[in-house]
């Protein structure tokens, strides 16, 4: 298990890539990894222009619009049929979806 890189301004190394790969459950090839070191370095050097700015005057805008309280009434609507529910599953043991063995 790779340890966390020391800080956000540190270089993007293969270790950082492996750490992220693990976090994102994303298997990469060696070629992917080495090109990602370069790509992420470039993108982050671009993104770091933001890191140094004092933006404390601005509220964090996580949504496009200032909406609130959009809710629905507590009403039951018809569910999918079992057939629909299993239609796209890669593996089925009707009436269940089947997934590989979970090893803890």
């Amino acid at each position: 298990m790779e340890s966390k890189p020391p800080d956000a301004t540190a270089e993007v190394t293969l270790d950082v890539i492996r750490y992220l790969e693990r976090l994102a459950y994303l298997q990469l090839s060696d070629a992917d990894r080495s090109s990602l070191v370069g790509d992420l370095t470039k993108v982050l050097s671009y993104a770091r222009s933001l890191a140094g700015l004092d933006l404390s005057a601005y509220a964090s805008q996580t949504h496009a619009m200032d909406q609130a309280n959009v809710t629905r009434a507590d009403e039951v609507h018809p569910s999918s049929t079992l057939e629909q529910a299993l239609a796209n599953a890669p593996q089925v043991a009707s009436p269940y979806l089947q997934v590989p063995r979970v090893l803890e």
Partner: protein, 505 residues
């Protein structure tokens, strides 16, 4: 009829409604054009031929029965491959979803059907809408119907832009009069500009996102692509409106309130702000000319032109790529090969669940998608979220306030849609940053939730060494100001018609 030119959606609806044509006559014409041109353009990745013909016959029966006819009656339409239609593959051009068939339809697709449109098929796109060239696709790249002529021509053809390049190319190539795209950072406007057609990114929340496979939820909007502003508006009117399945869709009351405040203005009454930071950028000569000719036209039409500043524009691209990648990394967590989509075949007896999930995602996603998942995971992970994601969301607010300040003084903002015309296919494959920069003028509208339109500009007489590829300008309006954008676009459309006849110097 087969000698008739391809009609706009507006004209087509009129002809069919008036009984001059039938849907059964017109639909095969479009299918024939697709059959003829798609092998080179690769705009459609699937054509729903039989279903379209059956529906056309059904619509003709409906007309014969005297029933009320929908506003897109008999109009064939292309659907971007990230919009769900029950029973049809919705692949997002990804191996991950190559065989995925949704069991429900997107609200917009249902609205098209309710308006009596004919869904002709699905169009190519960049995988999960991440890209600006419609090249990152399991179906291969789409080609721009436009080419340079003479010595400037490239053999591989030009990119239609992306990610809605299939829809833009399908419209520009005469396959369908209108198509739906989605726009997260310019994915409707940039391909519309590259392909010489009109494209609108609506105000965030005006069009329901229910059934649009999410890339970056706070930025994504579905919008129309068309050959005329009238068609653009017609399609927009059908798809817009509140949806109880989308908590971020704007209520009718909100839209009406804002629209009332934005008084309707004719072009001569408009105050047009020229975005200094966009105009100052390094622009291709024909793009610069498009901007100048648009300004000259608007001035001659009586509009007031003022220079305005959006001081934080230099940060827009970084802000956009951070927010979009964070949301993408989150949205794409659902593709684990467990419930739907691609599952890797990991042969080892003792493969852990984690290995199967990681392998499924590793095999299912292409390079650009992986890049953004990695960037988003980095920017959201513990310890970095404050420096990256949080800073980006604050900058987003600053950018939004810049626009609000500008709109206190002007009615619409004018600038280029893209720095240059279409690039040759494959030009940016080695340099993602260069690709990201083609979005530099479009991402701000998504960050601020504003409506923005790309309007193709017919240039006056071109020098022999000048590019023949289409160019466009972009207008931004305040939230819910789509009608202002349509009226400016209609005026420029008239100007374009005149320009085509050589009447503009």
């Amino acid at each position: 009829m087969s000698q008739e030119p391809i009609l706009s959606a507006t004209d087509l609806v009129t002809r069919i409604r008036e009984g001059q044509w039938t849907a059964t006559e017109s639909t095969p014409r479009h299918l024939a054009i697709i059959a003829q041109r798609n092998s080179s353009l690769n705009a459609f990745v699937e054509v729903w031929r039989d279903e379209a013909l059956e529906r056309a016959a059904q619509l003709d029966r409906k007309r014969a029965s005297g029933a009320t006819l929908g506003s897109l009656f008999g109009v064939p339409i292309g659907i971007k491959s990230n919009l769900c239609v029950t029973g049809h593959v919705c692949s997002c051009s990804s191996k991950m979803l190559a065989n995925y068939r949704p069991t429900y339809s997107a609200t917009v697709c249902q609205r098209l059907l309710d308006a009596d449109a004919i869904l002709l098929g699905r169009t190519n796109m960049d995988e999960y809408a991440m890209g600006s060239g419609t090249e990152y696709s399991i179906y291969g790249p789409t080609r721009n119907p436009h080419q340079e002529v003479g010595p400037n021509a490239v053999s591989g053809g030009y990119s239609p832009g992306g990610s809605s390049g299939g829809s833009a190319a399908a419209v520009a190539g005469g396959m369908v009069p209108i198509a739906l795209g989605s726009d997260t950072g310019g994915s409707i406007r940039q391909p519309a500009a590259f392909c010489g057609v009109y494209g609108l990114k609506p105000t965030y929340g005006r069009v329901s996102r229910f059934g649009l496979v999410a890339y970056a939820s706070s930025l994504d909007q579905i919008g129309p692509i068309a050959t005329t502003p009238d068609d653009l508006e017609l399609l927009f009117q059908v798809i817009e409106g509140p949806d109880r399945h989308d908590a971020t869709s704007l209520s009718r009351e909100t839209v009406q309130q804002v629209e009332t405040k934005l008084r309707h203005k004719s072009v001569e009454q408009l105050r047009v702000g020229i975005i200094r930071e966009h105009a100052e950028q390094d622009l291709a000569p024909t793009v610069r000319r498009a901007l100048e000719e648009t300004q000259a036209y608007l001035k001659s039409a009586g509009a007031t032109l003022v220079e305005v500043s959006l001081p934080r524009q230099a940060h827009a691209i970084a802000t956009y790529y951070l927010i979009a990648s964070c949301e993408a990394a989150s949205n794409l967590s659902r593709y684990d090969g467990m419930h739907f989509g691609h599952r890797a075949n990991v042969p080892e007896q003792n493969a852990t669940l984690e290995q199967v999930i990681a392998a499924s995602r590793g095999e299912g996603f292409g390079a650009e998608v992986k890049r953004r998942i990695m960037l988003g995971t980095y920017a959201l992970s513990h310890g970095y979220a404050e420096q990256y994601y949080q800073q980006a969301t604050r900058m987003r607010q600053a950018i939004r306030l810049d626009f609000a300040t500008a709109f206190a003084n002007v009615d619409v903002l004018l600038g280029p849609t893209t720095p240059g015309p279409a690039f040759p296919i494959g030009a940016h494959r080695q340099d993602p940053i260069a690709m990201y920069l083609t979005d530099q003028f479009t991402v701000s509208a998504n960050l601020a939730g504003l409506p923005a339109i790309s309007v193709p500009i017919e240039l006056g007489k071109l020098q022999s060494n000048e590019s023949r590829l289409p160019v466009a300008v972009q207008f931004h309006a305040p939230p819910c100001g789509e009608s202002r954008l349509f009226s400016v676009a209609k005026a420029l459309h008239e100007r374009n018609q005149t320009a085509k006849l050589g009447a503009v110097a």
